[in-house]
């Protein structure tokens, strides 16, 4: 069915994409894999790094820590997020729209902000800790397992909330009414109809929570204090001044990637068997609650959202406090901001430039790859699509060290440049927009393109004048979300940055480690502000009030 003329343009694009992916994905991953077997000093291939990992309990403990904190966080986010979604979609709750926006903001604001906000509240010299100890109550330590778990749950339950409320809205009211008319009680209806219908979606959300928790670097790094998780281990083994080993870090990275791939396909296998295509003609109407039920519903929603929002409020508040190093001297000022502008103006600029360039490249790649995989279906197009999606499940820390190992030496030396950070952002975040772009393209009838071709526009021109223009509005909303993620990126940038390519997220991290909480809060506030503005833009552009992932 392919015409020769079409083939030429798209064949060139396809070959170009393959070369790019070979260079910036396959080759680095291969390097990582090779590096995990190869001892640079002795020049011998062996399993020594793997042996070391499994033989020393210190390392294996990191794996066990990661597992336990991630799985428990996943379970708790479901327990917190699913009821919240149910209450918010099925019952009339005043201020619902506002709550929903706060939930999204807390999800999209930089991940490690939660960690240090909670330190400022519940840490050794935290505000709440001090007040409580003053009246004689000693609260358990925020550091280590419990603190990481708290931050993960409050940070990640919005995923479950968004997935489940999306699924609940897609259930047509007739389904539940049918159950009721057949004599089911309310609880029975929820257990036998509603719950099974949203189960696949909820599992999808749970997987996302698990992978995000497993890959998160900032939170355990700031809050862990000896409670080592895999990303922290990879980072410290890689950059560690004492006994740092790229080979060993590579081996751990390979193990964690393999593990995630197994979990990912396991979940896919379980979920695919029971996925239901649903679209509600008439979603279930919201009901008014009465009495104590109403009280507890309101209490639940507002408390959860308040807890999730505290870090953001805390950060903004602290940014206006007068500080002297880690000490808050009392009183308010803009000193933190002036310090930031004086010392860290570059990193703000860097963040914007890098993320904007990255998002433009992402959009171009997305346009091309989704076109190839939808309109030029073939084995190779499919392979391109799969390859581009792969980084979706690779932790940022792994991408970071992979890139640094690979582009530190010939043929292409990129370490310390802006390019390496931009490339890592592109490779990491393209998967988040490619699915929605593919879905948009499926909705555009191919005859629109044929009309343009028959009017005299060659295929390439048709693509840019018609197809791309029609796809852009849809891609754009996804691109805003990808951009927010890119500008908040820490886990890969922390490994790849150099003095001149420091980004806002890295700067916050560095300030937190130095315990200059004032300046950290000021940059964080700028970052949160940026995110909120971008989100408002997203809502305005899409005309929606919510985000679907």
């Amino acid at each position: 069915m392919l015409k020769k003329a079409n083939l030429d343009f798209w064949l060139i694009i396809k070959i170009f994409m393959f070369i790019m992916l070979a260079f910036f994905l396959v080759y680095p991953m291969f390097n990582l894999f090779k590096g995990s077997f190869f001892n640079a000093e002795s020049g011998i291939f062996s399993l020594e790094y793997y042996k070391e990992f499994f033989s020393r309990s210190y390392y294996f403990k990191a794996f066990r820590n990661s597992m336990s904190v991630s799985s428990l966080a996943t379970i708790l986010t479901v327990l917190v997020g699913a009821p919240l979604a149910y209450i918010m979609t099925r019952f009339r709750i005043r201020g619902k729209r506002f709550l929903a926006i706060l939930i999204v903001i807390s999800l999209l604001s930089p991940p490690f902000i939660g960690a240090y906000s909670w330190i400022m509240l519940l840490g050794r010299s935290g505000a709440i800790t001090k007040i409580l100890s003053y009246i004689g109550i000693n609260i358990p330590s925020i550091y280590g397992f419990k603190g990481i778990l708290l931050v993960f749950v409050l940070k990640l339950f919005p995923y479950i909330y968004l997935y489940v409320s999306g699924a609940l809205k897609s259930i047509d009211s007739s389904l539940e009414e049918a159950a009721e008319s057949l004599g089911s009680t309310n609880i029975r209806k929820i257990l036998t109809v509603t719950f099974p219908l949203i189960m696949p979606t909820m599992l999808g959300g749970a997987l996302l929570v698990f992978m995000t928790a497993l890959a998160d670097f900032g939170t355990p790094m700031i809050l862990g204090e000896g409670y080592i998780t895999m990303p922290v281990l990879i980072y410290s083994e890689f950059v560690g001044e004492v006994g740092g080993s790229a080979g060993f870090a590579s081996a751990i990275s390979v193990l964690i990637v393999l593990f995630i791939i197994v979990v990912f396909y396991l979940q896919k296998y379980v979920v695919n068997k029971r996925t239901y295509e649903m679209s509600a003609l008439r979603p279930v109407e919201t009901r008014e609650l009465r009495g104590s039920k109403k009280f507890f519903a309101y209490l639940y929603c507002y408390v959860i959202v308040a807890l999730a929002t505290i870090p953001q409020i805390m950060v903004v508040y602290t940014s206006f406090l007068e500080t002297n190093g880690p000490i808050f001297t009392g009183g308010y000022s803009f000193n933190s901001y002036t310090t930031v502008m004086r010392r860290m103006g570059d990193s703000i600029q860097n963040s914007f430039i890098f993320s904007i360039i990255a998002v433009i490249i992402m959009i171009i790649i997305t346009l091309f790859i989704s076109y190839l995989s939808v309109r030029r279906k073939s084995f190779s197009s499919n392979m391109l699509d799969t390859m581009v999606m792969l980084p979706y499940i690779i932790p940022g820390t792994v991408i970071g060290i992979t890139y640094l190992i690979t582009f530190n030496s010939k043929p292409l030396v990129l370490s310390g440049t802006a390019a390496i950070i931009i490339l890592s952002l592109v490779i990491r975040r393209t998967p988040t927009i490619i699915r929605s772009s593919t879905a948009i393209l499926y909705q555009i009838d191919p005859s629109i393109e044929e009309a343009s071709i028959s009017l005299g526009y060659p295929p390439a021109k048709t693509f840019f004048k018609i197809t791309a223009v029609m796809m852009l509005p849809g891609i754009f909303s996804g691109a805003i979300l990808a951009w927010i993620r890119a500008i908040c990126e820490l886990s890969s940038s922390i490994i790849l940055y150099s003095g001149s390519t420091k980004t806002m997220a890295v700067a916050i991290y560095v300030e937190v480690i130095r315990t200059s909480f004032g300046t950290a809060a000021a940059i964080s506030t700028i970052l949160i502000g940026t995110t909120v503005v971008a989100l408002m833009l997203f809502f305005k552009l899409t005309g929606r009030e919510e985000i679907s992932l």
């Binding site: 069915m1 392919l2 629109i448 044929e450 028959s454 009017l455 005299g456």
Partner: protein, 369 residues
């Protein structure tokens, strides 16, 4: 300015599956030519081969005397109207129609002049600056038509352009299309599965089934003298009777059964089993008790005419149409009637397999298949 189109031995394959095998036919200058057939018969495939969106696996396609097999679709200068209109949603009506002229590097003034002229012809000048989402189906169809003809294409191709419109608008638009085509005199190939539409709009029709052309002819030819039973039943309705052609003493008779025979004025071959096709309007209720005996099982009043479904004593059920002007009263359900053939010369006699019309001497297409 108008061109001829010729398919010579053209073959289309999808992988190993041949969907069109060595097809040949020609379209005359300025002709309105329709490909008519049930869905999946290959009519759209032929259209898309001409447009360049389907490759050609064998034979040639000519526009005038130029082979276009290897010409890129964007260089064929073909105007195409799609089933779903394929209007560019991000451009105004003007933008849509001007789109094809822009790539041909006309200057602005010329573009404006030609677009405005064509908008007038298709009567959408009022909606010039509207976006497609604000237009009705009929208006969008007119935009699609304007966009296709404004580039002065060699050929105009239309792929079921009316199938998304409601019944009334469909009739209105087909008249509009026919008039516009007459006015600009462009060679047009039109694809439809709607036989009534084909009859109404075409200069000539090619009736297709299963990747083959069964018959090419004017609407009258095809309706009155279908080459085989498929065409007879696909175009309009035909009652098909199993009968015998009996030649005795140089006189041909059609024996329907023991009770009814029709004498023919001409010879159409020797004695044999035949199939006879009679249109519902050519059967009359015989008051003298001559003809095929049956019982009325359903009557449908349609205003201008009445349709009767009649179950013959010899098993099969047939359709009879009575014009309201010839009617005294509606025959009630259950009444026994006799049906005879009103106009023998309008009936068609096929061989036993239904593949050949014995009345037609030159039966090229039927013989080929």
């Amino acid at each position: 300015m108008s061109v001829t189109i010729n398919f010579k031995n053209t073959t289309k394959k999808y992988g190993d599956v041949t969907v069109i095998n060595g097809l040949s036919f020609g379209v005359k200058e300025g002709e309105f030519f329709t490909l008519l057939g049930p869905s999946g018969c290959g009519k759209t495939t032929i259209l898309r081969m001409l447009a360049g969106f389907n490759s050609i696996e064998g034979g040639e396609v000519f526009i005038d005397d130029r082979v276009i097999n290897r010409t890129s679709p964007h260089k064929r200068n073909i105007g195409m109207v799609f089933q779903n209109y394929a209007i560019f949603p991000h451009m105004t009506v003007y933008g849509n129609v001007a789109f094809g002229l822009k790539v041909k590097r006309f200057d602005k003034e010329q573009i404006k002049q030609r677009v405005d002229e064509i908008l007038k012809i298709v009567q959408i000048e009022k909606w010039r600056d509207k976006y497609p989402k604000n237009l009705s189906g009929g208006q969008q169809q007119r935009v699609a038509l304007a966009r296709a003809i404004v580039i002065h294409p060699n050929v105009l191709l239309m792929d079921e352009p009316l199938s998304n419109l409601d019944a009334k608008l469909r009739v209105e638009m087909r008249v509009a299309i026919k008039k516009i085509q007459n006015r600009i005199g462009i060679t047009t190939i039109y694809v439809t599965h709607d036989q009534e539409e084909a009859l109404a709009i075409s200069d000539r029709i090619a009736v297709m089934n299963d990747g083959k052309i069964l018959q090419i002819g004017t609407p009258e030819d095809i309706y009155l003298r279908p080459v085989n039973v498929f065409v007879a039943t696909f175009i309009g309705h035909s009652n098909i009777f199993d009968a015998k052609l009996v030649v005795e003493d140089g006189i041909s008779n059609i024996l329907f059964n023991d009770e009814y025979r029709v004498r023919l004025n001409k010879m159409y071959g020797g004695s044999q089993a035949v199939k006879v096709a009679v249109r519902p309007e050519d059967l009359i209720f015989n008051k003298n008790g001559v003809g095929l005996k049956g019982k009325v099982i359903l009557s449908t009043f349609l205003g201008q005419r009445i349709n009767y479904e009649i179950l013959l004593d010899k098993g099969s059920s047939i359709l009879v149409t009575q014009d309201i002007t010839n009617m005294r009263k509606i025959i009630p359900k259950g009444e026994t009637v006799h049906l005879s053939i009103g106009a023998e010369e309008r009936s068609n006699i096929f061989n036993e397999t239904g593949e050949n019309n014995l009345i037609l001497k030159d039966n090229t297409y039927a013989k080929k298949s």
